[in-house]
């Protein structure tokens, strides 16, 4: 198939995109210094609380789900490999 090359097809552009994301993150972190944070809880006011929380929570969720998969993963036809309903699975 001769399709035209898309901008995202080049790994270099993807890396650029990811670098832009990291740069944006850094900018947001620095932004924490420049405004008056209005908070309900004391810990919210810590520098970069939301940034660290977001990153750590995300990584924790994904890695623990990965561990959970070992426990609960089954073949696709687990419920259907016997009895009717097998044909159109």
């Amino acid at each position: 198939m001769n399709e035209r090359e898309r901008w995202l097809d080049s790994p270099r552009n993807v890396t650029r995109l990811v670098s832009a994301l990291y740069a944006l993150c850094a900018a947001l972190l620095v932004a924490d210094l420049f405004y008056d944070k209005q908070t309900h809880f004391a810990f919210e006011a810590w520098f970069g609380f939301f940034a660290v929380f977001g990153f750590v929570a995300y990584v924790f969720i994904v890695l623990s789900a990965k561990a959970l998969r070992r426990l609960i993963r089954r073949p696709e036809d687990y419920y259907e490999h016997r009895g009717p309903g097998k044909r159109d699975a």
Binding site: D36, H40, F41, K66
Partner: protein, 565 residues
């Protein structure tokens, strides 16, 4: 009595039942006009209670329009209308009828002024919606539909039981705020909880929704669960237990969503997680929290429908919705991809989009009550939303590894429905004032404070950075064809296995008890038959002497018997 017929729900249901009589073009026009006419009727009707009828001696108020029911009524109409547009290409009239009756029933339930009316519409939502699953017309869909129906009708039966207990104890079927200690209230609470997919009662949702038809899932996603949210907001606002149930609901589905391969099932888990935010808000019960729950339901119906529409379009064009078989579809379906991304950003609560201006009301309400543990749970769940709905859905279908699959863009009517839903997501995000004005309470709330915008962006973009790191290092769990066990395992595998074991043990016991008796009987029969065989004892030639001896004995016996005292 006649005045009771003036109900948007009845208009939709009756209109839906007329659909099979119409030919294609008139039917399409009629379907498009119906929700609009019904919404106009809803707006025209005066606020307050109406539609009184007698039912077996119980006075029912079939129509109650106040601010809480109105906002749900409006969004249900919008959802019904979007679903009609999305399904306009469909020739299967059964689905159109089912969808229209289902939408009507859900609206009727929301507008119900008493518990009996609520219960009647409650059951009708179950009975009508199951056809959207069965319409797939496969053995698998049939079985899923049966499971769905049993659970939904079960919820209705609990509701009936609760109403009966309540009626006997108090003589009233009014649907107002209840306390869990009141008679019948726990049963009603449980009935609502099943439909709202509380933790461990949730699995009908993830089981059934992904198995419905392309257009059916879009319809299903809007009504049943949000009807339950409305019912909880009406009946159990401020119930402490709901805070914790809601918080748990936001958390556990996110882990399942990360490793689920069927992308429509991922969305079902995500739906469950979003319901958690609403339930939590209802549990907090302050004016801001109830407003937040209603507003979030409003925004959620739109972006969730949008996401289900996008995934439905992929399923419609490619024939599969398994993440392991998709990727790179943005080249074939650029519009669908763009709309999907808008839905994803909305559900993740990016600033300028609908989720941002609604979810934050719930979090603020929780914070104002100084519940920092719950608040952290919700914040944690917000990072999870970014993964499964914000990144996973668009990334693995439209980007990621190019699957090489090429297809046509989604049909025009689907694109129009998605465009409208996306426009509403953006519109609410940019200009939330009209939505805020619809909410149950008058409040002055501004989502766009500097703190909120920056902290939310920090949370989301650092979580996205987490994805970038994990994915590029190869630590992100790969998409593989698989199935994950969930609580449905209890009734699909465990309970049948226990029952099987019980029957087997019973049969074993029976065998062990009967075997000695049977063996004895067989041996006796064999010995008997031995005597009757050609050269057995009975058939033998007997000596004359023996015969004489027996005859003498017999005659002697007769003699003895004949002697009288």
């Amino acid at each position: 009595m006649l005045e009771a017929l003036l109900n948007p729900a009845l208009l939709l249901i009756a209109g839906g039942l007329l659909l099979p009589l119409l030919h294609e073009i008139p039917r399409k026009l009629f379907m498009l006009a119906l929700p609009a006419a019904s919404l106009a009727l809803l707006c025209w009707l005066p606020a307050g209670d109406a539609g009184e009828i007698e039912f077996f001696g119980i006075a029912m108020e079939t129509l109650r329009i106040d601010r809480l029911s109105f906002v749900f009524g409006v969004i249900f109409h919008i959802a019904a209308w979007l679903a009609v547009i999305y399904a306009l290409h469909l020739k299967d009239t059964l689905q159109h009828v089912a969808a229209m009756v289902y939408a009507g029933a859900a609206i009727g339930a929301v507008l119900a002024g008493d518990l009996v009316t609520l219960m009647l519409y409650w059951e009708l939502t179950a009975l009508s919606s199951v056809f959207l699953i069965w319409a797939r017309r496969t053995e698998r869909a049939y079985r899923v539909g049966m499971r769905y129906l049993i659970i939904q009708v079960g919820s209705g039966v609990l509701l009936i039981a609760g109403i009966a207990v309540r009626y006997v104890a108090t003589g009233s079927v009014d649907f107002e705020r209840m306390d869990l200690a009141e008679p019948g209230a726990p049963l009603i609470f449980l009935a609502f909880g099943i439909k709202c997919a509380f933790p461990l009662l949730h699995n009908w949702l993830q089981d059934a929704y992904p198995e419905a038809t392309v257009t059916g899932t879009v319809v299903l996603s809007a009504f049943t669960t949000k009807l339950a949210v409305y019912a909880l907001a009406r009946g159990f606002a401020g119930t402490e237990m709901l805070i914790w149930i809601g918080a748990a609901m936001t958390l556990f589905p996110i882990f399942f969503a990360v490793i689920e391969n069927d992308l429509r099932r991922v969305l079902a888990y995500s739906l469950n997680n979003q319901l958690g935010f609403m339930v939590c808000g209802i549990g907090v019960g302050t004016e801001l929290a109830i407003n937040g729950a209603a507003a979030h339901a409003f925004a959620h119906i739109l972006y969730k429908a949008l996401l289900f529409m996008a995934m439905g379009a992929v399923l419609f064009r490619v024939g599969t919705i398994k993440a392991s078989e998709l990727g790179g579809l943005y080249k074939s379906m650029p519009w669908t991809a763009a709309f999907c991304i808008i839905g994803s950003l909305s559900i993740s609560s990016f600033p300028l989009l609908s989720g941002f201006v609604t979810k934050s009301m719930i979090l603020t309400a929780v914070a104002e009550e100084h519940r920092w543990i719950v608040w952290l749970m919700l914040l944690f769940a917000s990072a999870g939303v970014l993964d499964h709905s914000g990144i996973k859905i668009p990334f693995f279908s439209f980007f990621a590894h190019d699957s090489g699959k090429r297809c046509a863009e989604a049909p025009a009517n689907m694109l129009v429905a998605m465009a409208l839903a996306a426009a509403l997501c953006i519109g609410i995000g940019l200009y939330p004032a009209p939505l805020y004005a619809l909410l149950p309470f008058d409040l002055d709330y501004d989502a766009y404070s500097v703190t909120h915008v920056i902290t939310q962006l920090q949370l989301l973009l650092f979580a996205a950075a987490g994805f970038a790191v994990l994915y590029r290092r190869g630590w992100y769990p790969p998409e593989i064809p698989s199935l994950n066990l969930d609580s449905d395992w209890i009734y699909r595998r465990f309970a049948p296995a226990v029952w099987d074991g019980f029957l087997r043990a019973l049969a074993g016991g029976r065998d062990r008890a009967l075997q000695p008796v049977l063996r004895l009987a067989w041996r006796g029969a064999a010995r008997l038959s031995l005597a009757l065989r050609p050269n057995g004892r009975v058939a033998d030639a007997w000596p004359t002497g023996t015969m004489v001896l027996w005859t003498t004995l017999l005659l002697g016996l007769f003699l003895l018997a004949g002697l009288r005292p």
